[in-house]
């Protein structure tokens, strides 16, 4: 795309051409390039080759899993019923996608319109993260075609997972509605756009409710397993608060990370407003994230104190727990703090990356590593790893496909410049 831009070709970004005619759908899909130009730039991009390679290996494996069952791609463990698909796909993707409701709240509820340039990116990040969490779930469920059973057929309303199911489903629709404004603009459906805009406050508030509950509920799921989850990662009264509070910096930092990738690899797609405000917004987001992280740090230790688990800190598991805290929370806080203080965007971005890794580590610890701590450690089956990576690659490809087209990083114009 960079090369094309150098030749004076502008990507599609408006409802009508300079001459007042509407763009056709095909033109929109091809970003306003000709088919040749489009195909060439796809091939030129090295990253597409990596994706193609991953898909070539991973997609047949996914098909293989559905033909022959979970048994052929996992270790079929009775002791570790939840492997990477849920440990990573559900428990990591969902907190990293808390961005939608965080920025929705900031902009729409608190009226901080200075965050607006990144609001849509945050909403999209939320939507895609949840959507792909459900994709991971579908791969993991024994009978995925029964996914809707808890909604329509057989109810287990006293189960935490029942709440997670309902909330993720409802929240997904809320997010679809929120992101649809961008789609309606792009497709040229004004009325739909305006209809949704009117309901924004309602959508945002329901987003907050649903997010508070299901982010917490993911933590509460592990409360069913006292004795299986290591006591340092287990806390009956605090687990849901830990998961909820940590989802705040997780979501914000994920947006910082994504926007960083975007500004370095897709700058052609960002408009001036986005480019100019990104540094300021990154630092503000980092501030929000560090407040969330600090709260998280405090309540993590509160939980240890509450259950009086100090003695565990002296064990090997304690060292691992301290590593998680020192690396994922304290180091992240320090880097973010210095970054904010010196207004260094680079440091804020580094801090955000550390935060994201720290949250990943925490969720994987709870779901897999410190789970069954008094049994053997489960190393996921190689096919399970490949499938997880493949789904993540599909996630990235979809993400990029949408960013390339819909007015997420740029504002949709009425008419293209000549």
């Amino acid at each position: 795309m960079k090369k094309l831009a150098a030749n004076g070709i502008k990507p599609h970004d408006a409802e009508m051409r300079a001459d007042g005619q509407k763009f056709s759908l095909m033109e929109k899909l091809l970003l306003g390039l000709t088919l040749d130009q489009y195909v060439q730039q796809v091939i030129r991009n090295k990253f597409n080759w990596i994706l193609a390679l991953i898909f070539a290996v991973g997609i047949p494996l996914i098909i293989y899993r559905f033909i022959f069952g979970l048994g052929v791609v996992t270790h079929s463990s009775y002791d570790y019923p939840w492997g990477l698909f849920l440990g990573f796909g559900l428990f990591c993707m969902v907190p990293l996608s808390a961005s939608g409701f965080m920025l929705g709240t900031t902009v729409e509820i608190f009226g901080r319109h200075d965050f607006e340039p990144i609001e849509r990116l945050a909403l999209l990040n939320g939507l895609l993260g949840y959507f792909f969490a459900v994709v991971y779930l579908l791969v993991d469920l024994g009978q995925p075609w029964r996914l809707a059973y808890p909604m329509v057929y057989s109810f287990g309303p006293a189960a935490v997972l029942f709440l997670v199911g309902w909330h993720v489903a409802t929240y997904l629709s809320v997010q679809v509605a929120e992101v649809s404004t961008a789609f309606f603009e792009w497709i040229g459906f004004r009325r739909g756009y305006e209809f949704i805009r009117k309901g924004t406050i309602g959508l945002t508030v329901s987003g907050i409710i649903l997010s508070t509950l299901h982010q917490g509920a993911l933590g509460a799921l592990f409360v069913y397993a006292p004795g299986k989850v290591h006591p340092l990662w287990y806390s009956a009264p605090f687990q849901w608060i830990h998961f909820f509070v940590s989802s705040i910096p997780a979501g914000l930092c994920m947006v910082i990370c994504v926007s960083t990738v975007v500004i370095y690899t897709m700058k052609w797609r960002c408009d001036q407003r986005f480019i100019d405000s990104l540094d300021r917004i990154t630092i503000s987001l980092a501030k929000g994230a560090s407040m969330g992280l600090f709260t998280y740090l405090v309540i993590k230790f509160l939980a240890v104190a509450h259950d009086n688990e100090w003695a565990y800190l002296a064990t090997g598991w304690g060292a691992w727990w301290l590593f998680e805290i020192f690396f994922g929370v304290i180091l992240a806080l320090l880097v973010l703090g210095v970054g904010i203080h010196h207004k260094s965007v680079a440091l804020c971005r580094l801090g955000a990356l550390i935060t994201v890794l720290g949250i990943l580590l925490n969720r994987l610890n709870t779901a897999l590593i410190a789970f069954n701590w008094n049994l053997y450690p489960e190393i996921p089956h190689i096919f399970e790893v490949i499938i997880s990576i493949t789904i993540f690659a599909i996630y990235i490809a979809t993400y990029r496909f949408i960013l390339n087209r819909l007015p997420i990083l740029y504002q949709f114009k009425n008419r293209a410049e000549a």
Partner: protein, 310 residues
């Protein structure tokens, strides 16, 4: 509060809506339960078990399970160690007998199967309500609704449910069902209990079994450790154990809480109706405060700037 109403009560609070009106109190969750008063159970006296595996064979036949890799008179299974652990119930065996060698004592044998908890964690964790605790005391499972999330396997404190991973189109949970369909429903003794040549197991009302167990301990105090495993664990279980060696040495998990597993979740369940009730008002309020006096419309957002530039 009876067990049923309490479970219904929890259901209400999770479903939201109606539950807001009856905000749950601590007491509602905390009550200790006795299960169905006439629920049946089995008392397993491990001091009598010789590890003949007849119960395993009987269960295999009764439940139409596939033929095992090693026949039921092959005792090398006692030496099997997988991932550092002895055998556990699987999709092909609802019950297994393991041998333990406590220091300074004869080997002891322990039969493992679903303990048919009074307040089953598997049941309370299942989001499609696939499990039922029957008035007879069995915890049974409905494979027609199971989605295969395997949350019950996470939740069961005894690591009992197994899953038929190998099936692509109809994988289901496999676990001991107390011979409910074929026997318990008609008041008959479970197959494994009946098959035991040593009378290790007594089938009866749970209430009475607890009395019998304590009686035995009282009459031969040197023979038993003074504990009936399952009387208190996770709210009490239908299957109860007597042992001559400390339970720990026979591979039992002795760190289980005496409260039902679901009680751990009550802190979270309690906040659900609160969030549902308070959040909308709170955040709408924030919104009004934060945007008071400012232009309220969204003319400043993504839509119409293009026009201004031209």
């Amino acid at each position: 509060m009876s067990k049923i109403t309490r479970r219904k009560f929890l259901a209400g609070s999770m479903a939201g809506g109606a539950a807001i009106a009856m905000a749950p109190t601590k007491k509602a969750f905390g009550a200790n339960l006795e299960g169905f008063p006439d629920g049946m159970g089995v008392l397993v006296d491990m001091t009598r078990c010789v590890g003949c595996r007849s119960c395993e064979a009987a269960c295999n036949k009764e439940q139409n399970l596939p033929e095992p890799n090693k026949s039921f008179d092959d005792f090398s299974v006692f030496d099997e160690i997988k991932h550092g652990e002895k055998r556990r119930p699987t999709e092909k065996a609802y019950t297994v007998v393991n041998r333990y060698e406590p220091e300074g004592s004869e080997p002891v044998y322990r039969k493992i199967q679903c303990n048919h908890c009074n307040e089953p964690a598997c049941l309370t964790s299942c989001f499609v309500n696939a499990y039922t605790k029957t008035p007879e005391g069995a915890v049974i499972y409905n494979d027609k609704v199971c989605v295969g999330c395997r949350n019950c396997m996470i939740a069961c404190p005894f690591s009992i449910p197994a899953y038929s991973y190998s099936s692509a189109i109809n994988p289901i949970i496999k676990k001991c069902i107390f011979c409910y369909d074929t026997r318990l429903k008609n008041g008959q003794t479970p197959a494994c209990v009946e098959a035991c040549p040593q009378q290790v197991m007594v089938f009866g009302k749970r209430k009475e079994l607890i009395k019998i167990a304590h009686d035995r301990i009282r009459r031969s105090p040197g023979k038993y450790v003074d504990q009936v495993y399952g009387e208190k664990e996770v709210g009490g279980t239908g299957w109860l154990y007597l042992s001559g060696v400390p339970f720990q040495q026979a591979g039992f998990n002795v760190s289980l809480p005496s409260e039902p597993i679901i009680n751990n979740v009550k802190d979270f369940l309690a906040i659900v109706p609160m969030v549902l009730a308070i959040w909308p008002a709170l955040f709408t309020g924030f919104h009004l405060l934060a945007t008071k006096g400012k232009s309220h419309g969204h003319g400043d957002d993504h839509s119409h700037d293009g026009q201004e530039e031209h």
